[in-house]
Point group: C2
Chain length 462, copies 2
C-alpha cells in the first residue's frame, strides 16, 4: 500500500468515527498496566474489607460498617469526590437452620436457607421425595407432594464461564412449584462445584399467590448422602427446623468514588463491584475482589498527572445478592442519564484472571476505539471476543435502559467451589491474579474515558 493511500484510509476512519486514541493515551494505558502488574494493592483492599468488616449481608449492622469502610477507604485513594446514594430494601433475616434424617438412617444434614426464604414455622417432620431436575418436579402431578418435602438433586457442572451456573441455578426457584404440588418444604442440591460440607445460599423468589414454604440448599456431600439413602427404596423421613424470613426495611447506600473528567465531566465511564456479601463467608471473592479491583484501577488513574477527558466513576453497589437492589436504585436515580453513561463494566465473578474482553454492540464509529482497547488488553492474555459476554449484574438495570457495557470475563473455574458459602474467605484470593484484573480495568477505564467514542448508550424508546 502506498503512503498516500494509508493516509487516506486513516482520514476516512477519522471522518467516519471517533478520533482514534492518541499515542500518548495508549502509552499511559501501557504504563497503568505495568504498574498494576507490579503490585496493585488490590489484595490489601480485600484483606482490609474481609478482616475489618467480614460478612456484610444487606440489612445487617455489618452492612452499615461496610458502607463506612468504603467511604473511608475510597477517601484515602485520591478520588475527587466520594459520596453515597441511598438504597432502600426489605430486610431478610437468617435465624437458625437445622436438619436431620429421622429414619431409616438417623444423622444430621448440613443445609442453609436460601435468601428470602421463609422458615418452617418450628420443627417439621416429613418424608422427602427426590426429583432429578427442576423439570421433573414441574412434571409431577398437582397434589402428589401433599405433606412431603420436595428435593431437587441435579448437580452443577464446572466451567470457566458462568455456563454451568446458568444451567443449574434455576433450581433455586423451585419452592413455589413444590408448594403447588402440596410440598411442605423445598430442598435442593447446592448450586456449586465443590465437594465441601458447606452449603451454598443464594436468593430465591416466591410466585405471587402461592403458599410460601421454606427453601434450603444441602451441601454437595449431604445431597450425595440423601440421594444414596433414597436409592435404597425405603421412605426417608427428615426433620427440618428453619427460622428465617423478611423483617422490616433498611436503608443502605451505593458508595460512589469519582475522578472528574478534564474535558467532558458529564460523560461517565462506570466501573465497580458490589459491597454487600452473603452472611456465611467473609465475601472475599464475592465481591471484595470486585471492589478492590475496580477501586485500585480507578486509584491508579487518580494518581496520573492529569484526569482523563471523561469522568471515571467507581460504584460499590449495595445489596447485589438479594436482587441487584443497589443496581436498580442506581438506575432509578440516574434514569435520565443513560446517554451520559458512555459505558461501564462491573467486576463480580470472583478473583480469577480475566481471559476475554467484549462490549455491547458498538456503533460503527466506535469500533476502532474498541479495537484499540482490545489491543491494549491483549498483553494481559485477554482475547477480544466480540458478541460475547454481558453487563455485570448491577449494570443490568442500566443496560436494560440502553446503556452500553463492556465485559472483562474472569476465569471462574473454581468460583463456584466457594460462591455463597462460608468458604468464601481471603485464602481463596491470589494477589497476582487480582493485579492482572486491576491492570485490565485500569486500561479499560482510562482508554474509554480518554476517548470521545460513542459506545452506543442511548435511552430505550418508551
Amino acid at each position: 500500500m502506498k503512503p498516500w493511500l494509508l493516509g487516506c484510509t486513516l482520514l476516512v476512519s477519522v471522518a467516519a468515527g471517533a478520533a482514534p486514541l492518541s499515542p500518548e493515551s495508549l502509552a499511559t494505558a501501557a504504563r497503568l498496566r505495568d504498574q498494576a502488574l507490579a503490585g496493585s494493592g488490590a489484595y490489601e483492599v480485600v484483606e482490609s474489607l474481609t478482616t475489618e468488616v467480614g460478612p456484610r449481608m444487606g440489612g445487617t449492622p455489618a452492612d452499615a460498617r461496610a458502607v463506612a469502610w468504603a467511604v473511608e477507604k475510597f477517601r484515602s485513594m485520591g478520588f475527587d469526590r466520594v459520596y453515597t446514594e441511598p438504597v432502600r430494601y426489605p430486610v431478610w433475616r437468617r435465624g437458625h437452620e437445622r436438619a436431620e434424617v429421622l429414619s431409616p438412617f438417623p444423622q444430621p444434614l448440613h443445609l442453609t436457607a436460601l435468601g428470602h426464604s421463609v422458615g418452617t414455622g418450628g420443627r417439621i417432620e416429613a418424608e422427602v421425595v427426590e426429583f432429578a431436575t427442576l423439570k421433573a418436579l414441574e412434571d409431577a402431578p398437582d397434589g402428589s407432594l401433599e405433606g412431603k418435602i420436595a428435593y431437587v438433586g441435579n448437580r452443577m457442572e464446572r466451567s470457566r464461564s458462568s455456563a454451568g451456573y446458568g444451567a443449574a441455578v434455576g433450581a433455586r426457584g423451585g419452592a413455589s412449584t413444590a408448594a403447588r404440588k402440596g410440598a411442605v418444604a423445598y430442598l435442593l442440591r447446592s448450586v456449586g462445584t465443590d465437594s465441601d460440607r458447606l452449603p451454598h445460599t443464594g436468593t430465591m423468589r416466591y410466585e405471587e399467590g402461592v403458599r410460601q414454604i421454606a427453601a434450603a440448599a444441602l451441601s454437595n456431600p449431604d445431597a450425595d448422602l440423601l440421594s444414596n439413602m433414597l436409592r435404597r427404596g425405603q421412605p426417608v423421613k427428615l426433620a427440618l427446623d428453619i427460622d428465617a424470613g423478611m423483617q422490616g426495611e433498611y436503608e443502605s447506600a451505593n458508595v460512589i468514588a469519582e475522578l472528574r473528567g478534564r474535558e467532558r465531566p458529564d460523560e461517565v465511564v462506570v466501573i465497580g463491584g458490589h459491597l454487600d456479601s452473603w452472611d456465611l463467608g467473609t465475601g472475599a471473592i464475592d465481591d471484595a475482589a470486585g471492589i478492590a479491583i475496580t477501586a485500585r484501577a480507578a486509584a491508579l488513574i487518580a494518581a496520573l498527572p492529569q484526569r482523563p477527558r471523561r469522568t471515571v466513576r467507581m460504584v460499590a453497589f449495595a445489596n447485589e445478592e438479594q436482587g441487584l437492589l443497589g443496581g436498580f436504585a442506581y438506575a432509578k436515580a440516574h434514569a435520565g442519564e443513560i446517554a451520559q453513561h458512555v459505558t461501564g463494566a462491573e467486576s463480580d465473578f470472583g478473583a480469577g484472571r480475566i481471559y476475554a474482553f467484549s462490549t455491547s454492540e458498538a456503533p460503527e464509529a466506535a469500533r476502532e476505539t474498541v479495537e484499540q482497547i482490545a489491543q491494549a488488553l491483549a498483553p494481559l492474555g485477554i482475547e477480544h471476543t466480540p458478541g460475547k459476554g454481558g453487563a455485570g449484574p448491577d449494570l443490568i438495570p442500566m443496560a436494560q435502559e440502553g446503556m452500553a457495557w463492556a465485559s472483562l470475563a474472569q476465569d471462574g473455574s473454581d468460583y463456584f467451589d466457594y460462591h455463597h458459602t462460608a468458604n468464601d474467605t481471603l485464602d481463596k484470593v491470589d494477589a497476582k491474579a487480582l493485579d492482572q484484573n486491576v491492570a485490565a480495568y485500569a486500561v479499560f477505564a482510562w482508554l474509554a474515558a480518554e476517548s470521545d467514542a460513542d459506545f452506543g448508550s442511548k435511552p430505550k424508546e418508551p
Copy 2:
C-alpha cells in the same frame, strides 16, 4: 553359582529359619491381589457405613448402631465367627459451640471443641493473645495470661506420611499450659492442611491438678482471620460460648470377625480398623475406609477353598478417637496372648494408596518370610522399607506388650485436609485406591497366616 551350592544355601536357610512360603501359597496371594484390584467391594462397605450409620462418635446412640451394623455386615461376609468384646469408657458430650469477635472487628468465628474439653460455663468475653507455637506459650511467664484467651497459631505442613501431623498435633494439648499462665480458654489453629472453613477436632487431655479450661480449634481461614486482626496491634476481644464435657460411662464393643486357622488356630494374624468416628463428618476416611479395607481383605481370604494355617482376625475397634480405648480394652482382654498374636496391621490413615511396607524388627529366622511378603506386595507399587513405620494406633497397646506388627503405609497427602472435620465424607474416597489397599491387606494377612514364621511377638519382661 553351581546347582548343588544353590541347594545347599536353601537348606541352610530352611534350617536357620521358618520354612519359606510355598509356591502354592504365593500363587494364591497373587490371585487374591488380582481379585482385589478387579473390584474388592470395599467402596460399597464405606458407602454402607457412612450412609446407614454416618457419624458414630463413641458413647452416642450411633455408636451402638455402628456395632450392630458391623456385626450384621461381617456376618454376611463368610467369616467363621463374628463376636463382640465389651469396651467401657467415660462419655464425652458436645453441646453447642459459638464464637465471635466482639471488637474491634465484630464477626463470627468458626471453631469446634476438642474431644474431652470442658465448656466455657456459659458465654465468656475476653481478650485473645496469640502465640506462634506451643513452645512460645510454654515460655510465657506464669500469670501473664490472667483473664485472657490463649491462641496458638502454628500451621500444619503437608506431607505424604504423618510427619506434618506429628509436628503440629502437640498444640492440641496446650490447654493446661495456658491455664497455668492464667488463661480462661484455649484456642488453636486446626491441625489440618486444608483451607476450608471447617474446623478439625481431636482429643485433648488435661494435666492432673490444673484448672480445666475449654479447648477449641479454629478452622484455618478463621485462624488466618484472627491472626490478621491481631497483626494490626489493637486488642482483639472474643466471646466464646462452648457447651461440652464428660458425662457418665458407656459400654461399646470391639467387633471381631475370624477365619479359624486350619493348622494352628491359636496363632492369630490381626488386621482391622476402628469403627467409631468423630461426630462432625460421616467418618468415611477415618475410619470406614480402614474397616472396609480389612474386612474385604479378610472376606477375600474367607472365599478361598481352604483356610490359611493360622487364624486371621479382623477387629473393628471401638472408640479409637478418644484415646485408643478399644485398643486398650483388646490388649487387656488378650494380655496373656501376646505370643499367639503373631503379627498385625491396622488401616487407619485414610483412603489413599499404600506405598510402603515394613515390620517391627523380625528375628533372623523370619526375615525370608518378610522378604517374600514384601515381594508379593511389590507389584502393587509398595516398597519394602525396613526399619520404618509403626503399629497402627489400636495395636499400640499390644505392641507395647511385645506383639510384632506390620505397617502398610498409605499416602496421606490429602488426609489432613478432611481428618476430624465435617468434610470427612464419602466423596473423598476413591474406589480404586481402596481396591489397592484391600489387595495389600489380603496378601499380607494370607501370607502371614500361611507361614509358620515367628515375627517376634514375645511378652515383655515384667
